[in-house]
């Protein structure tokens, strides 16, 4: 609304249209344009690299030393299994932590300040270090084979936990104080206010954040690499202690393979991963734009 202020011309001349400011606007446009262009080129070249491999082999067959027979069945099922367990671990703990920090914590207390600072830092800790932490935990538990579903899920859950906490907090913060006050004034307890008013009102924001966090877990490979997930697996993962591989790990292994033909399979699998992740991102953005209330 106030942007119009700039269009007022007291002397009748437009100051917007001198050469310098047009160039400046052009540069700003260009920087946005480059981002879009990159996205499009990445999608197109990956799609083209994988041409000829968009068929059922990708879904039905296991990895193979012959590129033509190689498929991602074990990786697809592995991703599905590992990330589901990840979500089951990270989402409840993340939401609980966010509710505490946003609704109950007394922010002047030192330990709450420490927790807050700590979560901000954890969100920016390199992903690979979560793999090292998990390695340490699994060694402590005495597991010989580190490449197990529960290990991978633990690493990814620790990785996305700060993301879930931060986005949930933001969603809770957007709920106006009046709603809480109204609920408390009607005699609801604090916990009732949270479960019946604040949390339901924040659901779209929490859903958006959670979907983005889970999609990060689907695409992440670094921590799993440390557990030794880069193995040749030709069976479906069938338990929490079963060995596994995931889509990003499988793509990594095919990309770094010596035979050129594996690049094609890698690109096809990348496309599958991109379609899954970009549609999850799309859904998250749709929920945010459609359902997020603006108070």
């Amino acid at each position: 609304m106030t942007v119009q202020v700039s269009n007022w011309n007291i002397d009748g001349k437009s100051h917007e249209k001198n050469f310098k400011s047009i160039v400046f606007l052009g540069v700003l446009w260009l920087s946005l344009f480059i981002a879009f262009l990159f996205l499009i080129i990445l999608l197109v070249t990956t799609a083209m690299n994988g041409w000829g491999r968009y068929d059922l082999r990708l879904f039905t067959t296991y990895n193979n030393t012959t590129p033509a027979d190689a498929g991602a069945r074990a990786a697809i099922l592995g991703s599905l299994f590992v990330v589901s367990v990840t979500a089951l671990m990270a989402i409840p703990i993340g939401i609980a932590a966010a509710v505490y920090l946003e609704e109950f914590a007394d922010r002047s207390k030192w330990f709450n300040k420490v927790i807050e600072l700590n979560i901000q830092n954890l969100a920016a800790v390199p992903a690979i270090l979560y793999g090292m932490l998990t390695l340490g935990v699994l060694t402590l538990l005495g597991l010989k084979n580190k490449n197990v579903v529960i290990g991978g899920s633990l690493a990814l859950a620790l990785l996305i936990l700060p993301v879930v906490i931060l986005t949930t907090r933001e969603a809770l913060r957007a709920v106006p104080q009046e709603i809480r006050d109204g609920s408390l004034a009607l005699g609801a307890t604090e916990v009732q206010t949270v479960t019946k008013q604040t949390l339901p009102a924040a659901v779209p924001g929490i859903a958006t954040g959670t979907i983005l966090a889970v999609s990060r877990a689907i695409g992440e490979a670094a921590p799993l690499l440390l557990l030794g997930a880069l193995v040749f697996i030709t069976y479906d993962p069938n338990g929490l202690l079963a060995g596994f591989t995931t889509m990003p790990i499988q793509i990594f292994s095919w990309t770094s393979a010596a035979q050129e033909e594996f690049k094609q399979v890698a690109a096809a699998a990348s496309m599958l991963l991109l379609v899954i992740l970009l549609s999850m991102n799309g859904i998250a953005i749709f929920i945010r734009n459609k359902f997020a209330k603006r108070w």
């Binding site: 981002a35 609980a96 932590a97 109950f104 830092n121 954890l122 920016a124 932490l133 490979a221 670094a222």
Partner: protein
């Protein structure tokens, strides 16, 4: 109803609940322990890195590690100078920033100062999609398109399969959303009154953006860039695929080099027994990586607080 009875009623009424509400206390306690768990994660990271790292530094003097210029942990005789890995990290991070800072900041300025509400709501998600692309796919793209097609075929450069330039460029695009989104927050947080004052004095939009809004948002933008640095230092898959795994104090960005994360990823692929020196080396480099990103993150958090306090 007499007035006195009314008075006593008010005095009886307390804002505290009448019953102890044990259920609520249990719920609060559970929620608190969920957030306290995050502290446990940090302690866990430090512990899991420190124990093997101490073992490592018992055998390799810490100064040899930090100042040595030859990184050859699997050679005989082995050499554990981490400088080549730091140089590799510096190359990829530096190149990434050259891409991410101008483009990220340019996008942020357009979205915050020029775009209408509607345009912003449509364009911002597209920039954010760049953050949703998995890093292995970025790595694949760096090898197959940036190195092979752009650098080799189009620009005719003599570049091998691996180069820090290619890894850095693609990593730069990866961190554009980090820089853009945080900078946009900082720019939008500048009060409208400052822009109006600038316009009232006859400045146009470009002058207002560059001389009023940008300086006012500077600490927030700096925080965005610093967080971008932290992302770039810790990024693993792109460098593991595109930068190569040869430790190299390189002066030429067309050469490959190994970064700290690249070493960790590569060493993890090899088979090293728990407790061996090779295994401990991994954690010594991990500890260094953690320390560096911790310092960077705290600088960023500090800077964000500063602009939040200012307005």
């Amino acid at each position: 109803m007499s007035e006195t009875s009314n008075m006593t009623k008010v005095e009886d009424f307390s804002l505290r609940s009448s019953s102890p509400r044990i259920g609520e206390r249990i719920i609060r306690g559970t929620l608190f322990s969920a957030s306290a768990f995050s502290v446990l994660i940090t302690i866990g990271i430090v512990w899991s890195l420190l124990v093997p790292a101490i073992e490592f530094f018992r055998q390799v003097p810490i100064m040899d590690f930090l100042t040595g210029t030859r990184w050859a942990p699997r050679f005989v005789p082995a050499s554990f100078g981490v400088v080549p890995l730091l140089v590799g990290t510096l190359w990829t991070t530096g190149i990434a920033l050259l891409v991410a800072v101008p483009f990220g900041l340019g996008s942020a300025m357009y979205l915050s100062e020029y775009a209408s509400d509607k345009t912003r709501r449509r364009l911002k998600p597209v920039v954010e999609l760049l953050a949703g692309i998995p890093t292995v796919v970025y790595g694949f793209f760096a090898i197959e398109f940036v190195t092979r097609v752009v650098l080799k075929d189009w620009m005719g450069l003599t570049v091998g399969t691996f180069s820090v330039l290619s890894a850095g460029l693609v990593m730069g695009v990866m961190i554009i959303p980090t820089v853009a989104s945080l900078s946009e927050d900082a720019l939008s947080a500048v009060p409208l009154a400052m822009r109006q004052g600038s316009f009232a004095l006859g400045a146009n939009k470009m002058q207002t953006t560059l001389r009023v809004v940008f300086p006012a948002a500077f600490s927030g933008i700096a925080a965005a860039v610093v967080l971008g640095i932290s992302r770039a230092v810790g990024e693993t898959m792109i460098v593991a695929l595109a930068a190569g795994n040869k430790p190299n104090i390189s002066t030429n960005p067309l050469e490959g080099a190994q970064t700290m994360t690249g070493f960790i990823a590569n060493a993890a692929l090899g088979d090293s027994r728990v407790g061996s020196l090779q295994y401990d080396t991994l954690f010594a480099v991990g500890l260094l990586l953690f320390t560096i990103t911790l310092i960077i993150n705290f600088i960023s958090i500090r800077l964000v607080r500063r602009y939040r306090e200012a307005y």
